[in-house]
Symmetry: D4
Subunit: 225 residues, 8 copies
């Protein structure tokens, strides 16, 4: 079994999204091999769910080449795109504990050249915190809503904002929060219409979806529809 990894360098052309490396299921050896492949190709990579332990396990050269963010467990390896868009995406997080996932989304967008606005700790238990920021949120055409436990933030936003709302349930909470299942289900079964949902803790996925929307718009704009 010589080649365990076949990087999909053509992905950007095909679907407009660069390949990212999901590190949770991979050994340090496998991640190291992937970095070498990317380096040989001169390609930049986004690394997600990269723990500090695995980061330290990489060779010094590879480890040092990674721009790492501990809060979101993400790394940028090699070149990062310049910022090409601002003000289009807001990331709204319910609580302090949801910040790691929110930042994973922020970093994924940044890696693709999109600067997002992050608005944290505006959960509905203190509704005033959300309403204070509502006007600001509404100026963004895409809103990523990050919340765990009951995920009520998503439904409230859904009733107040006309933007595209991409929901990310988080595994924050215990007992009946069921490791994010409750937030996921509540977002899916929301009383507010037109919410769409990503996997639990999947800030990367929400950012990728936002990039699809932005690139779809670009496609539309160019085709002059």
């Amino acid at each position: 079994m010589t080649a365990e990894t076949v990087l999909d360098f053509d992905r950007t052309n095909r679907i407009g999204l660069d390949e990212a490396i999901f590190c949770a299921g991979k050994t340090v050896e496998q991640i190291g091999a992937i970095l070498e492949l990317a380096k040989a190709r001169g390609a930049g990579l986004l690394l997600t769910k990269l723990t500090v332990e695995k980061l330290k396990g990489l060779s010094a050269a590879n480890g040092d080449a990674i721009d790492y963010c501990a809060v979101s467990s993400t790394g940028f390896f090699g070149s990062v795109k310049p910022i090409i868009a601002r003000g289009a995406v807001a990331i709204v997080a319910a609580g302090t504990s949801d910040v790691g996932v929110a930042r994973e989304a922020e970093r994924t967008l940044r890696h693709a050249g999109v600067e997002a606005t992050v608005i944290a700790d505006v959960g509905v238990a203190g509704l005033w915190r959300l309403t204070e920021r509502l006007q600001e949120i509404r100026t963004h055409s895409i809103v990523i809503a990050v919340a765990g436990m009951d995920a009520a933030l998503a439904s409230v936003l859904g009733g107040l904002v006309s933007s595209t709302i991409i929901c990310v349930p988080t595994s924050v909470g215990y007992g009946a929060a069921e490791a994010g299942r409750t937030a996921l289900n509540a977002m899916l079964a929301s009383c507010a219409p037109g919410l769409v949902v990503c996997n639990i803790d999947n800030g990367y996925g929400a950012a990728s979806a936002a990039l699809r929307v932005l690139s779809s718009y670009e496609q539309l704009r160019r085709s002059g529809v």
Copy 2:
């Protein structure tokens, strides 16, 4: 097996709540026998989850003696207490589909002499509907919050109202609503503090809990604490 039912007529003295008959698991014959027992004793009964089909299956005499409410599937058999309290309990329901459960709570309270205020269709997808009624809700020291799907109403209320909040998840919704499980879990895992929760669709239980709070207060008041 001569006696399949042993009515707990002493319950009122012991825990302050009359016995109610949960009809869902009982045959028409069993319900009829219970009514006869109550009639012989001269006791009034509350019947819950009594379908129209079962109601029609009862003897004409017993059926006619029941004050039936089709929306809530409840019946009053025999005497009902006079109204002894008003303005203490509000029942707040998220959507039209939640009204059956809300009315089960209202009827249970009424059977025990408590008149509740019902405020329906104030789900958070249209937050203005709730905020319009907020001052009215706050005047009640006990709020029963009835909601299905994402149950976000409970969390929003929990952050805005200082009253005792008794939540009733409903089985309204489909798919990820999981027959009320999602609403139940969201209420249990709410970001708002101090919510308490009853079983799915259990309007009767929420009303009974409200009666416990009122009777506890009465106990305190009398003891002069």
Copy 3:
């Protein structure tokens, strides 16, 4: 409990989506009352999950005023918007059994003035059926992917198409399909990046999300991003 329903006529202004009536949890009486409210206001309504039985239970006047589609269990009551957009949204369904949900999405879009392209029975068990239509699918900036059972269609599309992809799992299948849970989870855990997901059988929700994306485009266009 005089008013069981408070219609949210302001919703269109607030979030760009008209209120729709989810009929599954409502009695014929409740639906009838809602139609009267809408009629009095002169507002058009979309009705979803409306069974033939409930349709027949409505008054003749109201029933006849409904443009009903049996495959999708949807009804248009009153006026429908003229078509304002074409060619932006494709609805791709895996199998014949998924067509009901696909058509619910199509009808929801049509009610809001958007004409969608429907491409049915292109599940991956016969991959040639999908690849034959791939170029056509790619011309749409939004793709609604409808699939039950293993939902592999969503992942394959996700790897081939750069459009915004909104996934709708269906309850098609039995046993391990778990009434749509497996399709839902597979779409959420897809190996393809940037898919977003709606509730099981929720064609209405997917269409609403597409409408949000279209309105985001409009906002992006205006802001000159």
Copy 4:
């Protein structure tokens, strides 16, 4: 993302409950930042689910300023309210293993100025232990029932005591105890009427609910109901 935490200092005025910091999902850095915010404001804080490891990770100044209880993993930071109520709340725990959660409730009440009576190890496997204490329990208008495994204690109490009964399932047990799910479900589906339930292991939530009931009493008293 400068401000990851927006403390809700107004909560007390709004809903009568101080903000508490749930530490399980937060890093040591985030907890430290929150303590600084509170210190700057001169506000006292209750910390829940604070492990010894995290406590030790805090700065010496902050760590020393915390009155910590290892059994309940709670901490008092800054000022604590004087005792304003006694004898109203009993906390009844089924087994020795449930004591941690019981004490979390006790400490939450104490932080808010309410002294509770704790009655431990009275599970129904040895019913005499409960009946010996029954008269004492009945003198309290609010009973918090803490139990894991089968949670039968809650149902037995519910049939014997007229007080408000707030149930807290615990994750004590293994296998079919399902990490507290069985106790939770048994409490929700209890044969005794009017029990209300909090999340698994949520002693804090039960105490908060008790505080809501006490504040309802106050409101009732003022309104002269």
Copy 5:
């Protein structure tokens, strides 16, 4: 496929239990064929979960030959054993709704020649109903405890009675009762030691287990342990 059923007439010799026919998964044609096989052999049969509809679908000759009990959905076909034991087994049921399952156990025992004592409606919500019968229950060496919802009856019995206790959870209840799963889990996770449990609604299984215990007694007696 000529022979779809191979009756296990030797079962009695091998394990001391007659074969019984579980009718729920069988068509009327299959049940009819089995009765013919038994008739040809001159063997008596116990039929369980036999609905009235299926009973009526049988040939008149076979239908009339069945001693049917509608409450328990059981039938005796052909000869029944004379009573060979009395006073050894008590069947204790929590509520009126549990009586069908209790009677299935009673009839299974009776078919095997054992007369059981049935004690119904002694659930712990009215503990006095149970304590009144406690001495009587204790005289039986085997107790079958039948309960749904929270199944607290089983744990209370387990702490008060030294007999062999065979628990049967029932599907009585709704929502968090989870069709008997909660009662099942609560019995398995009981705080009282040495309870054993059968499948949900399986009165037949509990009676079969009781018959095994009675046969163990016989073996113990013969071996002089």
Copy 6:
């Protein structure tokens, strides 16, 4: 949406299996349209999960052209392959209630020209029934094991027979049988090595897998490996 169904007539060439029509999720109209497509093409079709009600709903011409089997809910429409193989496949069913699924497998094989041996009612509760047939079973190189409830038959066969063993769990049983989930899981977690498993009640799938094995063998034989 003109064409809701795109039949995959090329499937036989591609994967060696004819397309079959799964009728459970399709309306009578959709099934009728598919039959017309097949008739126009002159292709034979296997119909699975076809209820008597749907069969009766078809046009007389189409209904009469179907060779229907009520036990297995299968239909042959149009031509059926001549028998090309005998003695290679045994279908072993645990109980009478499993016969419907066993026959679905038998009919699927027969439609493809393979005659299978069916051995019914050999569940392990009466192990002699299985051991009596063991030598016969062993002469078949492929064994399809059909069982519900505990599915112990699969594990026992797995320890006694060297053939390829394809397991089909059935939804026979109640309560803890969990509609076939327990049988499915027990087959997957079997202590006997090398068992493979199909979906619950999926006799069609097991037969298709057997056809894959036979066709793989044919491929190998022809290639002379």
Copy 7:
């Protein structure tokens, strides 16, 4: 909270079973306090689920006074009953990995004066291992069957042995074994009649049930029935 533990020293008189200490949910401090209570009273105790780490955490005096068995994680503290019965109970375990639970049962019986026969590694994947020991097993009037994964051993035993069969599912296995849930469900849904089941990994519970059977027999014997 002075007394966190109320030992139930009267349990033996009441239900014939000594109190045992379940150590999994208790801190070292709590276990130590319980040992002191027992020592003061001169009572012997059985400790279950006692890890080596907790054992080492106890005071030297208490730790040394414990007769510890690492395979079963059980300890005898203080006096142990002399052997009063032999040959009545067999413990039959399916695989080597099930031995820990089997030994927990053996030690619990031994603590109560009953010597059991242990027969290990006789899972049905190698059926000859079981049939070789079948005659020996049959001489015991009570059989405790310990098995994980598919738990097929229980069903096979149930069809071959007339003894009382007490099943203990174990958490052995992975994936679809679902931490013992599959074995539990398979035992509950067994095709063999009259099996009774304990909680997952609950060797202690199975032994306690066996003691109830033996004590019931003793009661019967003494009463001369």
Copy 8:
């Protein structure tokens, strides 16, 4: 309890598969004892799910005698069969994270003398990676498909390849991947016909099934079918 393990050395004769030792549930002591038994008998053994920690815990002599593979956590102890077959089995893995399970299958086959072709990282998110290898895959009569998350690879293969396809879901992924449950269910509910499935992460089981199929070929060849 002298003999905790009864090795099934006759298994090869009976079902054509050698006994393998599943190490996950066994202590180092138990594994060591099994190796001694095998050594005494001169038998080779395959060890699965053997962690590096347990390997290091073995005696030096036994540890050194093991040919260990860290990626798959498998060991060969003693003699290994010479290669007797090549080119019949392909192992196709969706992602780098699935390689451990794929290699477990490869090693199990190798231990039995079958050399498999491994084709890794061909998940459908980059469909070109799979289509590039399709012709090569088709030359193998047995394909083992290894995939986690959505497991769409299995369905796509099932529609393109006529070989016997044995699916192995892996626990790769998080959240809605549900530790492999989603991949398992998706494979079971696949839209492609005739797939068969093994337990989650059970590369050993898939290889054993492949060995059964190969032995079926042999039987078919001998019988001249």
